[in-house]
Symmetry: C2
DNA sequence: TATACATATGTGTTTTTGCGCATATGTAGA
DNA sequence: TCTACATATGCGCAAAAACACATATGTATA
């Protein structure tokens, strides 16, 4: 793996990506459920329009905080693997935000994940 | 010391405060020199107009990242005391930004600090 | 291929942010 | 009190960011 020097702009891009309610919530969820999630799940959990979720995910991805994996109809997003101290501390900072601030979202998220039809051959998300 | 519950907005305010080049540099310097600095010193070190430095400092202060102490003509700014995990990890994240990104500023900063006339009764900053 | 579902994007609008200029406020010293 | 230095702020502008609406793209399935 290359060790491309990060520039100041890259650090700023990370902070900027995290300075929005929706995006911070997405990161918090990804860190706390330790699962990849697809766009429509985030839409339901955060109650934000699909087109806005898509755009926010793009910004997080441009900041190298998340990555996408396409699976059939769905595009799943998950945390990017950590590659340096900076990212680790950023993760820890986000993790230190108490669940108190996210109870509603966390509840909805757990429900959503439970609805995933893992039984038969139908791949993932449920109704 | 009161333990006022932070809200999601407070965390966002911190990230937003750090998502600007000038402000991130100010925080990096404060963390790396372990000294309070006054506005005019920052102006010289970062080569940013005085009125903009003032404004950026205000934003950092509103995010509770720094505090001010007035001394004579000068207003010194220093890091706010840490009060929780979140702040600690944010500090560590900023500290993990390598000096490579700040060589010019760091040099000028050391020069500036050395110029402080601590000898006679004249209080602080030098020419 | 037609349809439904999932995701992304083009466009226009509103809000927010950062900056420059001018100026106000505040402090110390002649 | 007058002047110089240090800091803060009101105002207008330009760029960036966030959002809503419509629509495009992409995939699976009947």
């Amino acid at each position: 793996m290359y060790n491309i020097e990060k520039e100041m702009d890259d650090y700023i891009k990370v902070f900027k990506a995290l300075s929005d309610m929706t995006r911070l919530k997405i990161m918090w969820l990804l860190l706390n459920i330790d699962e990849k999630v697809c766009v429509s799940e985030i839409v339901d959990v955060l109650e934000v329009y699909q087109y806005n979720v898509s755009r926010h995910l793009r910004i997080l991805k441009d900041a190298k905080l998340i990555n996408e994996v396409k699976e059939g109809k769905w595009v799943f997003y998950h945390l990017s693997p950590l590659e340096g101290e900076f990212g680790q501390f950023v993760h820890k900072a986000i993790c230190s935000i108490p669940e108190t601030e996210m109870t509603k979202e966390m509840t909805r998220c757990k429900v959503k994940l439970a609805l995933r039809t893992k039984d038969d051959d139908i791949p993932y998300p449920g109704t």
